[in-house]
Every structure is written in structure tokens, then in C-alpha cells.
């Protein structure tokens, strides 16, 4: 697995998560991390050295990881079950559905290296199904933070969330999309850029792409709002409807399959509210992907800034 080099001014959400969980554990003795041979890829080596009695190793056994996490949570532990999103949400989907969501044990499932973070390692390691699969499971919330500020806030919120939660992020160094303090609440979207022509409703690492696209569009005289829809479930319906009512076009953006993720969730809200607007889902297509790094795949499938700006221009120019 290739390591992402540190980039000045940027921070990988994965690194931020690791720092945040360590900080949380220092003040909350009930915090326990469970990993499936993923303490290295989860950047949890430091946590393990500092709190060796509070990191539980299951070995490469995701089903057991989630079942054990549920058992720990049943006894009052604040459990963060950390594993690559691809394996956590596919291999252990039945444990997530039954042991966590249905049994209502407040485990925080942490899907690391999500989406196409693993790039050229291929489809076995991509998680483009997880939002769709977990959206269809009752009693689990889904949070996909965009940057360091959202990740830090999401970890703090997760610790006291009190119900099952899926936290999903990648490992690429991310620019900050929020300036200064962030008012973060699960279920409340954050407007990152104001705009009135088009609105990007994005989640996770694609928010930064949308911000860059918005900057490019502004130079061309197009005003594009960017909303960080960090909580995919429950969706902030009001923020979405506000976008559709005040902008001429809405483009949803996600590092996920076009099937069943943020885009289809937003489409259902808009259609059922009777709010019509020009609408496009920017996501990975329902097909075998070409091989490439995360950046190459974003560019190829139109999820990078240029691709998103192009989609906005096309959508706005359609008569």
C-alpha cells in the first residue's frame, strides 16, 4: 500500500481521525478502538502505544470485528471499529445490519480508505457500494467528512452520538474547505461557498473538488454554491431544497457509485417535494472502472474541478 506524502497546508482525513481519536481517548476512558489488522493503515500505531489496553485486534476478520464491537458497545464502551471501508461494509454487512443497527448498539463504524482511495489496487479495494448499502439499513447514520475540520468535529460528535454511525473517509491529503471554526452537527449541511446560478451538493473528499470548480466558474462569471452534505443520512432536506429553489441547477457530487448514494437520495427528496430544477449526479458510473489512481479516476469520470465545472456549464447552458 502506498503511503501518501505529507503536503504543506493539507491534512489527510485519516491522519486527522487518528489524532482526534487519540485525543478523545485521553479524556474518555470508555473509548475503545477495534481493528482488523488495520492499525497501520488506520494510522493507529500511536494510539496503540499510548492506550495498549484500549485497542482490540481481531486479525483479518471483519465479521468478528463488528460482532465484537457490538458486544463491547452493549457493555457501555464507546467503540470505534476501524477497517477499510470496502471490507467493513461488504464482508461484515450482515453484522452491521443485525448486530449494530437492528440490535441498536451505538458502535461507530469507521470505513477508512473509502471510495477509490486505493486507486490502482482495483475494484476489490474500492468501496462504491457502501453508502447505498448502509442507506437501506434502518437505524444507522452516515457521515462523510470533507476535510480536517469536519473530520475532527465528526469524531467528537460520534463519541456522544448514542446510536449507530458510519464514518467514512479517504487518505488523500485534503485542503481545508472551511475557514476558521466549524459549527458541525450530524444531519446539518454546511454551505462552503455562496452562489445562485448552480449549486454543488457534495460529500467527502469531493467537496474540495467542488470548491475548486466553484472558483473556476466564478472567473467565468458563473456563481456556484458549494454545500458540504457531510451527513448522507439523515439528509439535510432543507439545505438541499434551498439549493434547488434558489439556484438554476443542482449537481450532486460523491465518490461512490451513481447507484443509491447521495445523488439518488437528493433526487428522491426533490422529486417528492415537487421541486423541479436542472439536476445531475456526478459519481462513479455503474460499470467496471478503468485502472488508475484516485486523482486519475476523478479526472476520467468528471469528478475533479474541471469535470465538475464542465458539468455545471453544460447544465446551465441547456435550454
Amino acid at each position: 500500500m502506498s503511503e501518501q506524502a505529507a503536503v504543506p497546508g493539507k491534512a489527510a482525513n485519516l491522519d486527522v481521525f487518528a489524532q482526534a481519536i487519540e485525543s478523545l481517548a485521553a479524556s474518555s476512558p470508555d473509548v475503545v478502538v477495534v481493528t482488523s489488522d488495520s492499525r497501520g493503515s488506520g494510522k493507529l500505531t500511536s494510539f496503540g502505544k499510548r492506550f495498549p489496553e484500549r485497542i482490540v485486534e481481531t486479525g483479518i476478520a471483519e465479521q468478528n470485528l463488528v460482532g465484537v464491537a457490538a458486544g463491547l458497545a452493549s457493555a457501555g464502551k464507546r467503540v470505534f471499529a476501524v477497517s477499510p471501508a470496502s471490507f467493513l461494509t461488504a464482508r461484515a454487512l450482515e453484522q452491521i445490519k443485525n448486530d449494530v443497527a437492528y440490535s441498536s448498539f451505538p458502535v461507530v463504524l469507521v470505513g477508512i480508505s473509502a471510495g477509490v482511495s486505493y486507486g490502482a489496487l482495483g475494484a476489490t479495494h474500492h468501496s462504491l457500494h457502501d453508502l447505498a448499502a448502509l442507506r437501506a439499513i434502518n437505524n444507522i447514520d452516515i457521515v462523510v467528512p470533507a476535510d480536517a475540520a469536519e473530520t475532527r468535529a465528526a469524531v467528537r460528535a460520534a463519541a456522544t452520538h448514542g446510536r449507530p454511525l458510519y464514518l467514512r473517509f479517504g487518505k488523500k491529503p485534503m485542503p481545508a474547505v472551511h475557514a476558521g471554526d466549524l459549527a458541525f452537527r450530524v444531519g446539518s449541511a454546511v454551505t462552503v461557498r455562496e452562489g445562485t446560478d448552480a449549486a454543488f451538493v457534495a460529500t467527502g473528499e469531493t467537496v474540495a473538488c467542488a470548491v475548486e470548480a466553484s472558483d473556476q466558474l466564478r472567473a467565468a462569471g458563473i456563481s456556484a454554491r458549494v454545500v458540504s452534505m457531510h451527513t448522507v443520512k439523515p439528509l439535510d432536506r432543507q439545505a438541499l431544497l434551498e439549493c434547488a429553489r434558489t439556484c438554476r441547477a443542482v449537481i450532486t457530487v460523491e465518490e461512490h457509485s451513481v447507484c443509491g448514494g447521495l445523488g439518488e437520495a437528493c433526487a428522491a427528496v426533490l422529486l417528492q417535494a415537487g421541486v423541479a430544477c436542472r439536476f445531475r449526479i456526478a459519481a462513479l458510473p455503474d460499470e467496471h472502472l478503468v485502472n488508475g489512481s484516485q486523482g486519475e479516476l476523478f479526472a476520467h469520470y468528471g469528478l475533479d474541478a474541471e469535470g465538475l465545472a464542465r458539468t455545471a456549464r453544460e447544465l446551465l447552458s441547456n435550454s
Binding site: 468478528n64 460482532g67 465484537v68 457490538a70 452493549s74 457493555a75
Partner: protein, 280 residues
């Protein structure tokens, strides 16, 4: 402690209640419930340190029924011990009843929602680990069906429990040797099951799963080996106590006809009379 005759009498009444539950509810996993009634009787009358009043006590013993389909046996035992009102049994499987066809935490005394197989042991291992982390003295017991042992998650958890030396965890396998398709050894063989768990680092004891005295004695001396999780392989008969259901895979689930119901009730009531005569 309740004597063995009394325990057998109690188990007989539980069997009768299972038959009533299935017959009136028009659904149920009859065979597997009857095979584990004696195990549950031993657990809830001799072993588990939990009562309706302590069902939320952090120091209570935990029981997780991984073979969730045998929920009829669990419901009648929980009702017998006062966790569930006897009148609730009348609502088994009815519309909007909490007593559905597999265990849920909506029913007092139930620790985890089970039913999909291969889930109980990982959850129980997590509970046991939490107890050790917190220095609590509670024990965790889980019951697996033998057909269920084909699920890989059990073996993930078996590795885990031994690695973490969870000697506050006890697993019981209801070894009735039948699953829906037929004999476990012709479907996908499990023998030697004791050697397999021993090889995974468990301390294993085999016992007659219908000898309540032996079950209570065996479960009363866990951990068998300090530092190791305990495994009790309980040899049982599917459908135990009703002659035409015994050792019949077809009674994995099934509702008796009116005539079959009367026969089952008569057999169980005759056994009850014999137990009463022994006691007199």
C-alpha cells in the same frame, strides 16, 4: 439448588409450553427448541446470575442465544423466570407483538437481536472482553446450533476468544446432529467438533445435553481451564420429548396438526405424571 427431579419437571413444563406456543402461534422451530430446553433450564435455574430485577445491572451474567430460531424455548424459559409475563406468550408471532420469531432486545432479558446464524459468538466475545476490561466478574454464555458451526464467523470468534484468553466466556453447542437438510455429517461434516474447538484453543467438555444435573454440574465449573474460553458440547436429540418429532429433520420447523398436538401434549403430560410419581 433445585433437585434434579424438580429441574426435569420444570423442563417438562417448558416443553409443554413450547408445544402450546408453536401450536397457537401457528409457527415455530419446534425441533431445535425442544433439543435445547434442558440446556436453558440448567442455565436459567442453576447457572446465570441474572433476574428480572437485575436485567440491566452491569454486573449481570449475559446469555446470548446464537441459534435464534429456537426462540420458543427461550421465551417460555424467560416467562418461567419472570422476565416476560406469561400472558405475553399468547401473543407470540401475532401482529405487532414483540415476541417475534427470533430474539430481540424488545423482550426483557434478551441481550442481542439474533437469528441470522454465526452472530452470537462474536457478540458474546465482545461482551466478555468488556467485562474483563472493566474488572467485572460477570460471565457470558452463548448457545450455538451445530449446523450453525459451518458459519465462518464462529471460527473467527473462536480464534479471537482463545487469543484474548476470555475464560469468562462459555459456549454451548446444541449437538443434535440435524439441520434442515438432514444429518450434519452428510451436509458438511463437523466431527470431531470437540477436537476442532480444542485445536482453536478452547477447553472442551462433552456432556449429555438432556441430563440437567450433568449440565448444571458442568456449567457450574467454568472456566474448565483458567485462561481459556470454555466449550460445552451438549449431545442432544432434536425434538426431544415428543416421540414423533425426535430425530426428525422435518421438525426443524413445523406446526403440529390438531391430532399431533394432542399426542404431543399427552406424551408430555404422561412424562410429567411419571416425574411427579418419582418425587412422591
Amino acid at each position: 439448588m433445585t433437585n434434579v427431579n424438580q429441574l426435569r419437571t420444570i423442563a417438562n413444563r417448558y416443553r409443554r409450553a413450547v408445544i402450546d406456543l408453536v401450536y397457537k402461534g401457528r409457527t415455530g422451530h419446534t425441533g431445535g427448541s425442544l433439543s435445547c430446553v434442558d440446556i436453558l433450564t440448567a442455565l436459567y435455574h442453576c447457572i446465570l446470575r441474572v433476574t428480572p430485577q437485575t436485567a440491566s445491572d452491569p454486573d449481570r451474567d449475559r446469555y446470548v442465544q446464537s441459534k435464534g430460531h429456537a426462540v420458543e424455548a427461550l421465551y417460555v424459559v424467560l416467562a418461567g423466570r419472570g422476565f416476560v409475563p406469561q400472558s405475553d406468550l399468547e401473543r407470540f408471532s401475532r401482529f405487532d407483538s414483540p415476541l417475534i420469531g427470533h430474539p430481540t432486545r424488545a423482550v426483557a432479558g434478551i441481550e442481542a437481536n439474533t437469528g441470522a446464524l454465526g452472530h452470537g459468538l462474536p457478540i458474546a466475545a465482545g461482551m466478555a472482553l468488556a467485562g474483563r476490561m472493566d474488572g467485572r466478574g460477570y460471565r457470558v454464555f452463548t448457545l450455538l446450533g451445530d449446523g450453525e458451526c459451518a458459519e465462518g464467523s464462529n471460527w473467527e470468534a473462536a480464534l479471537f476468544a482463545a487469543h484474548h484468553k476470555l475464560d469468562n466466556l462459555t459456549t454451548i453447542v446444541d449437538r443434535n446432529r440435524l439441520q434442515i437438510t438432514g444429518n450434519t455429517e452428510t451436509v458438511c461434516g463437523l466431527d470431531p467438533l470437540d477436537a476442532k474447538f480444542a485445536a482453536f484453543g478452547w477447553s472442551v467438555v462433552s456432556v449429555d445435553g438432556h441430563d440437567i444435573g450433568a449440565l448444571a454440574e458442568t456449567l457450574g465449573r467454568v472456566p474448565f481451564t483458567p485462561g481459556k474460553p470454555s466449550m460445552v458440547i451438549a449431545g442432544t436429540v432434536k425434538g426431544r420429548g415428543v416421540s414423533f418429532m425426535e430425530n426428525q429433520a422435518s421438525w426443524h420447523h413445523g406446526v403440529p396438526s390438531e391430532e399431533q398436538y394432542r399426542t404431543a401434549v399427552r406424551e408430555l403430560d404422561d412424562a410429567f405424571a411419571r416425574l411427579s410419581a418419582e418425587r412422591a
